[in-house]
């Protein structure tokens, strides 16, 4: 399916969720209404003609220093690919500086759990209804979000205590029926 066809398909599936589109060096970018992202991803995943069954990556961007940028401060890019049909596209949502929050897609793809945790950890974007939104790459005592443009690269922090992980472990054991 070529780019235009994917866009047309999306416009018929969820016309109110699409804000715009762009061509990014040969790949389709669809700008999506922030609160509709989970619906859009699910529709694209389940539609047999689009069939985006592989979540390639979730990228967070802080546009606050970007020259000429007038939109919301943060962007989240979802790279999607269909293994069977071979086409790709990426969806982009933007979220404002105050309370940056995007609905989770961790119930749709297994790897979205960790990818969203990374975006939260590095950029401070919250993913609503994420089951376990904790830091992943940085230490749990770390303060701030290092990939934000206002986080100075030279800032150092003293981090000491280990993380017990028992909070995650208990949740997992509870799910398996342990008391």
């Amino acid at each position: 399916m070529d780019q235009q066809a994917i866009l047309e398909k999306l416009k018929t599936l969820l016309p109110e969720a699409i804000k715009g589109s762009a061509d990014r060096y040969g790949q389709l970018e669809v700008q999506v209404e922030r609160l509709k992202i989970a619906e859009v991803v699910k529709a694209l995943r389940d539609d047999p003609e689009v069939g985006f069954n592989l979540l390639i990556d979730i990228v967070s961007v802080d546009y606050s220093n970007y020259p000429g940028w007038t939109g919301d401060r943060f962007g989240v890019i979802y790279h999607l690919k269909s293994l069977g049909l071979g086409h790709r596209a990426w969806l982009k949502v933007t979220t404002p500086e105050e309370e940056p929050s995007v609905p989770t897609i961790s119930h749709l793809y297994g790897n979205a759990d960790w990818l969203e945790r990374e975006a939260f950890d590095q950029m401070g974007i919250r993913f609503a209804h994420h089951p376990n939104l904790k830091r992943i790459l940085n230490h749990h005592e770390f303060v701030g979000h290092p990939l934000r443009k206002d986080y100075p690269i030279t800032r150092r922090q003293w981090l000491s205590a280990n993380e017990s992980l028992m909070d995650e472990m208990n949740a997992r054991l509870n799910k398996k029926g342990y008391v």
């Binding site: 071979g86 960790w114 029926g177």
Partner: protein
């Protein structure tokens, strides 16, 4: 969490199902009967700094959670204060077992942004060095994995030939592990005169090394018992977790970027994409041996076709002028000054570009604001997705199997934690 849906299996959760059935109905499963053990973060079998906290019932892992980030050093933040050229040595340290493939992945993305035509000779040398790197990556993975399950001899057989490949890489670029051999627009230097003969000789040794390993393990009862039907992951599940590369192919999904979205003339090379049958540890080890064979075929074809000519583009936006020009005329001097002081400046824009690295799809998302520093780089490390599924794969198996499985999904902490 979404009510009633298990985020990992996507199946509706039935509360208390397991505790109200069968023999367990009388005796509820209690947490106090379990022993909690940390595997890692610093343990010989983790081959890097990874941590898995396991709840054990006897020797069986009933639940596991993993923690990463012990090798996080802020690769993405670092790139934002360096020029595009200065990012190349940082990419070496992502997957340090096959550094050149990361160089190529990054350079290819920037070259696409700048619409630079890389000379044919450079492309073929990139293919040859990438496939050599794929071979040593697979040798390290399989060799180390076999050590973890007690087969030490294979480690020597595979690491012996790996050393010989490193000798070639050292002659190419002066470094063994962190090569920084690629430049945006081509290579840092051409290959040395005896390169082709030495590669052909090393391919022969690789064949022999792989054959020796295969002879030792393919009918070895201990190996087969340790590897077959252990930590099976179905193709569906692997896709669900975003797996790519050999681990996905071991689960029977034929997806290889070199075939699916060919770059660097991969469409002209004859090679097969081997796939596994069920996706157990055995499949994940053996698929790497088959891929080594295919890489050898690709290198042989590329050596036959290797054209002459320059290895660096003459595009003035990225290439330093020859030294005679820098010192001989004002235009050359200015070009040199511009590239050193002002750097490479792609047009403002966003790009995603991916290559098939040894572990799977290595992708770079680059946001450029038109300046000499990248505005934002996000690396998609293939083993991040592999490790995201690890805790689920090892639940229900014994510790020894968890170690065998960790080796088979080839976690490289350098690219996992960035």
């Amino acid at each position: 969490m979404i009510a009633g849906i298990d985020p990992h299996t996507l199946l509706p959760t039935a509360k208390g199902e397991s505790s109200s059935q069968g023999l367990n109905a009388a005796q509820p499963k209690e947490k106090k009967d379990l022993v909690f053990v940390n595997i890692g973060p610093s343990h010989p079998a983790t081959h890097g700094t990874l941590r898995a906290l396991c709840a054990l019932d006897g020797e069986t892992i009933v639940a596991a959670v993993t923690e990463i980030g012990y090798l996080h050093r802020g690769f993405e933040k670092d790139t934002e204060v360096h020029t595009f050229q200065q990012c190349i040595p940082y990419t070496d340290r992502l997957n340090y077992v096959s550094a050149i493939m990361n160089n190529v992945g990054f350079c290819k993305a920037v070259e696409r942004m700048l619409a630079i035509q890389v000379p044919e000779r450079a492309l073929y040398i990139r293919v040859i060095t990438c496939e050599l790197n794929r071979i040593i990556d697979h040798l390290v993975c399989a060799g180390a994995n076999l050590v973890d399950i007690g087969a030490l001899t294979n480690f020597w057989y595979s690491f012996n030939v790996r050393e010989k490949v490193y000798n070639i890489l050292e002659k190419l670029c002066g470094a063994r592990l962190t090569s920084s051999y690629m430049r945006i627009g081509g290579l840092s230097r051409d290959v040395y005169p005896a390169f082709e003969d030495e590669v052909i000789a090393v391919l022969k040794e690789i064949r022999k090394g792989v054959q020796d390993v295969k002879k030792l393990i393919s009918t070895n009862r201990i190996f087969l018992d340790r590897a077959r039907d252990i930590c099976v992951i179905s193709g569906e599940k692997a896709i669900q977790y975003g797996w790519t590369g050999p681990t996905l192919r071991a689960s029977g999904v034929e997806y290889d970027l070199r075939r699916a979205e060919p770059y660097y003339h991969y469409e002209d090379f004859k090679f097969d994409v081997p796939i596994g049958t069920i996706g157990d540890v055995y499949d994940r080890i053996f698929i790497r041996f088959y891929e080594i064979d295919e890489s050898i075929h690709i290198i042989e074809q590329a050596l036959r076709k290797l054209p002459g000519g320059p290895v660096m583009t003459d595009d003035k936006r990225v290439a330093l002028p020859p030294k005679q020009q820098t010192y001989g005329n004002i235009e050359g001097l200015m070009n040199h000054f511009k590239i050193i002081m002002h750097g490479i400046c792609p047009e403002p824009g966003e790009i995603y570009d991916a290559t098939e690295a040894a572990n799977g799809e290595l992708g770079f998302t680059i946001v450029s604001d038109g300046s000499k520093n990248p505005y934002r780089i996000k690396c998609r490390p293939p083993c991040f997705m592999n490790f995201a599924a690890y805790h689920e794969m090892i639940e229900g198996v014994i510790i020894a199997d968890a170690v065998a499985n960790l080796g088979s999904i080839n976690i490289i902490a350098g690219e996992l934690d960035r």
